[in-house]
C-alpha cells in the first residue's frame, strides 16, 4: 500500500440488499498519480466505486478522504469535497443538452473558461452542444461524461471504464490527458485495456469476487503470473 494515503479504504464491506459484494476491502489511494482497479466481470469494481462515492451505503468499514472520515457523508457532500466520478452506465443526463450537461458539471466551478478547455480536449462535443445527450453516439457520451466530471475540479477522480466504446485515436488522447492530470490529482481507474490502465497507474489492485486478490506496483502486477487467471471469466 502506498505510504501517504489521500483516500484510505479500510475493511470496506458493501452490497445490494441482502447480497454482499465487497468483502473486507483495504485500499489506499495516494495524493497524486493513478491507481488501477482490475478484475473480471462481476468482480465488484463498479460496486467499489459506488461505495467510495457514496451511492451505495457500506455495511461495514471506514472511508477516510483527505484525512477526514467520510463514511457517513452523503454523496453530494463527498463530491463537493473533491471527488469526481464517471459512472460506467448512465453517465450523462440523457434529456439535457450537451451544453446543460457541461453546465451541471461546472455548477461548483468558478472558472468561466473551464468549459472551453474541455471542448478543446473533445472538439466533437463542441459540434453537438444543443443535442440531447441521450442521442449522442456511445463514444461521444463517454467523452461528455469525462468532461463533466473533470469540470468539477476534483482532487480525486474515479473513472469506471472511461474508454469503453471510444475510438482508438481518442483513447490515446484521453490517456495522455489523464497521465498529465495524474501529476496534479489522484485518479482511480477501472479499465479493461490493461496497457492503458497500467501506463496511467503507478499502483494496481485486482479484485476477485469482491476481495482484493492482488495488489502492488503497476509493473509487478502486470508481470504477476496470477493476473490472467483473475481476469479470465
Amino acid at each position: 500500500m502506498p505510504e501517504q494515503t489521500f483516500l484510505d479504504i479500510r475493511h470496506l464491506e458493501a452490497g445490494y440488499g441482502r447480497s454482499q459484494v465487497l468483502f473486507d476491502v483495504n485500499i489506499g489511494i495516494p495524493w497524486r498519480g493513478g491507481v488501477a482497479v482490475l478484475g473480471r466481470n462481476g468482480a465488484g469494481k463498479t460496486t467499489l466505486m459506488k461505495a467510495i462515492v457514496g451511492e451505495l451505503a457500506s455495511s461495514n468499514g471506514e472511508l477516510f478522504f483527505d484525512g477526514r472520515d467520510i463514511t457517513r457523508r452523503r454523496t453530494e457532500e463527498r463530491v463537493r469535497s473533491g471527488i469526481g466520478y464517471v459512472p460506467q452506465e448512465h453517465s450523462v443526463f440523457a434529456r439535457l443538452s450537451v451544453r446543460d450537461n457541461l453546465a451541471v458539471g461546472s455548477l461548483f466551478n468558478v472558472d468561466p473558461t473551464a468549459v472551453d478547455r474541455i471542448l478543446t480536449i473533445f472538439p466533437k462535443l463542441g459540434q453537438r452542444l444543443d443535442q440531447p445527450a441521450g442521442t449522442l453516439s456511445g463514444g461521444e457520451r463517454k467523452m461528455l461524461a469525462i468532461g463533466r466530471a473533470m469540470l468539477g475540479n476534483p482532487k480525486l477522480l474515479l473513472l469506471d471504464e472511461p474508454t469503453e466504446g471510444v475510438w482508438v485515436g481518442v483513447i490515446e488522447e484521453i490517456t495522455e490527458r489523464l497521465i498529465e492530470l495524474a501529476k496534479q490529482i489522484s485518479i482511480v481507474i477501472v479499465e479493461q485495456h490493461l496497457d492503458l490502465a497500467l501506463r496511467l497507474a503507478d499502483y494496481a489492485y485486482v479484485l476477485d469476487r469482491g476481495r482484493v486478490a492482488l495488489q502492488g506496483a503497476a509493473g509487478e502486477v502486470r508481470n504477476d503470473p496470477e493476473l490472467l487467471r483473475y481476469l479470465a471469466p
Binding site: Y16, G17, R18, K50, H90, A94, R95, G134
Partner: protein
C-alpha cells in the same frame, strides 16, 4: 415496481436511445428468490375458503353487501390484468363496466330481457366491443403509446361517457335507470341474497382461474416483457401492440361481465358507473391489495370496501378523511400493496422458468 418504472420511462421518452439510457436500475433487488416457498397458493386458498363459508355466518344484509364486493372484485381483476400484468394503465376501466351495465339495463327495461343466458353474454360482449374500439384507437398505430397517454385517453373516454350518460335522456340522464327487474333463470328470479352471492362467487372463481392460467402461461411471460420494456420485446418479434390490445380487450370483457352482474344486483345504473369515480376506485382497490398479483386485486377490494363500510358506520362525519389516511399509510409503507406483507418480490414479479418438474406438468 416494473410497470411503474415503465410508466416513467414512457413519459419521458423522446426516442429509442434516450429511453433506454434511463437510469436507476440500481435498486437493490433480492438476489436470489427466497428458497422456493410459495405463499400465493396458500393466500388464494384461504381467501376462497373464507368466501365459501361467509354467507353461513353473515346476516342477510351483509351477504348482499358481500355479493357487491365480490362483483367489484371481479371488476378489479379486470383492471389488475391490464395494469398489473401488461402495464397498460387503464384509468377508465369503468367505461366497460358501466357500458355493459347500461346495456343490460336497457335490455331489461325496453326489451324485457332478463334471462341470464342472454344478459350476461350481452354485457360481456359490450365490454369486449367497447374495449376493442377504445383499445384499438389508443394502443395501435405508428407510435407506441406512452402509459400516461393511455391513462389519459381511457380516463377521458370514461369521463366523456359519464358526460354522455348524464346528458342523454334515453339513458335517464343524471338519474340513471332505476328499478331494473331481477335477472332470471327460466322462471326463477335471481334476487339478491345467498343465491346471487354464490353465483357471483362462482363467476369470480372461474374468471380468476382463467386469468391465472393466462398470466402463468408463456403468454404471461410475454406480458411481463411488455410491461418492462415494450420496445425491447418488439425487437424480438413480438407484436407488442397487438398483445396489448388483446389484454386490454380481455380486461374489458371481464369488466363487462362484472358490470352486468352489478347492474342486476344493485337494481339500477347511473352515470357514475361509467365515470371517473368508479374508474379511480378500481385503481385504488388494485394498488391497495397489490397489483400484478391477481389475489391482490381481490383482497384490495374486500378490504377497501369492508373498511369504508365499517368506517361510515362508526365515524360518520369523518370517514372519508379516515379512509384517505388509511390509503395514504398503506401506499406509503406498502407501495406494493398489502399482499407484499406476505409475498416476496420475486414471487410477485413471477418467474416463468419453472423447474423441470413443474415444466412437465405445464406442457401438454
Amino acid at each position: 415496481m416494473g410497470a411503474a418504472k415503465q410508466a416513467l420511462r414512457a413519459t419521458v421518452s423522446r426516442g429509442p436511445d434516450v429511453s433506454m439510457a434511463d437510469s436507476g436500475l440500481d435498486r437493490a433487488l433480492p438476489a436470489r428468490l427466497a428458497a422456493g416457498r410459495k405463499v400465493l397458493p396458500i393466500v388464494e386458498g384461504a381467501v376462497l375458503i373464507a368466501a365459501l363459508i361467509l354467507p353461513l355466518v353473515l346476516q342477510d344484509y351483509l351477504t348482499v353487501f358481500a355479493t357487491r364486493v365480490i362483483i367489484l372484485a371481479l371488476f378489479a381483476l379486470s383492471f389488475d390484468l391490464v395494469w398489473g400484468y401488461a402495464g397498460i394503465l387503464s384509468f377508465g376501466q369503468a367505461l366497460f363496466f358501466g357500458s355493459a351495465g347500461y346495456g343490460v339495463a336497457l335490455m331489461a327495461r325496453d326489451l324485457n330481457i332478463t334471462s341470464i343466458f342472454l344478459v350476461l353474454p350481452a354485457g360481456t360482449l359490450i365490454g369486449l366491443t367497447t374495449s376493442l374500439l377504445l383499445g384499438g384507437f389508443l394502443l395501435l398505430g405508428r407510435h407506441p403509446s406512452s402509459v400516461i397517454f393511455v391513462a389519459l385517453g381511457t380516463l377521458t373516454g370514461s369521463y366523456a361517457a359519464d358526460r354522455l350518460a348524464r346528458g342523454w335522456y334515453y339513458l335517464g340522464g343524471q338519474n340513471g335507470i332505476p328499478s331494473i327487474p331481477s335477472m332470471s333463470l327460466g322462471s326463477y328470479d335471481i334476487t339478491e341474497g345467498p343465491v346471487y352471492y354464490y353465483f357471483a362467487l362462482g363467476t369470480l372463481v372461474v374468471v380468476y382461474l382463467l386469468c391465472r392460467f393466462l398470466v402463468r402461461s408463456q403468454f404471461g411471460l410475454a406480458l411481463a416483457g411488455l410491461r418492462e420494456n415494450e420496445q425491447r420485446i418488439a425487437f424480438f418479434g413480438y407484436k407488442a401492440q397487438h398483445l396489448k390490445a388483446i389484454v386490454f380487450a380481455v380486461g374489458g370483457t371481464i369488466a363487462g361481465l362484472a358490470g352486468s352482474l352489478y347492474a342486476f344486483h344493485e337494481g339500477f345504473v347511473w352515470p357514475n358507473m361509467v365515470g371517473v369515480v368508479i374508474s379511480t376506485q378500481v385503481v385504488l382497490y388494485v394498488l391497495f391489495g397489490g397489483s400484478g398479483t391477481l389475489i391482490g386485486a381481490v383482497i384490495g377490494t374486500v378490504i377497501i370496501e369492508g373498511v369504508s363500510f365499517w368506517l361510515s358506520d362508526n365515524y360518520r362525519d369523518i370517514w372519508p378523511i379516515l379512509l384517505g389516511v388509511l390509503l395514504l399509510l398503506v401506499i406509503l409503507f406498502r407501495p406494493l400493496g398489502l399482499i407484499s406483507y406476505v409475498l416476496g418480490e420475486r414471487e410477485r414479479v413471477g418467474s416463468f422458468g419453472a423447474g423441470p418438474k413443474e415444466k412437465r406438468n405445464a406442457a401438454p
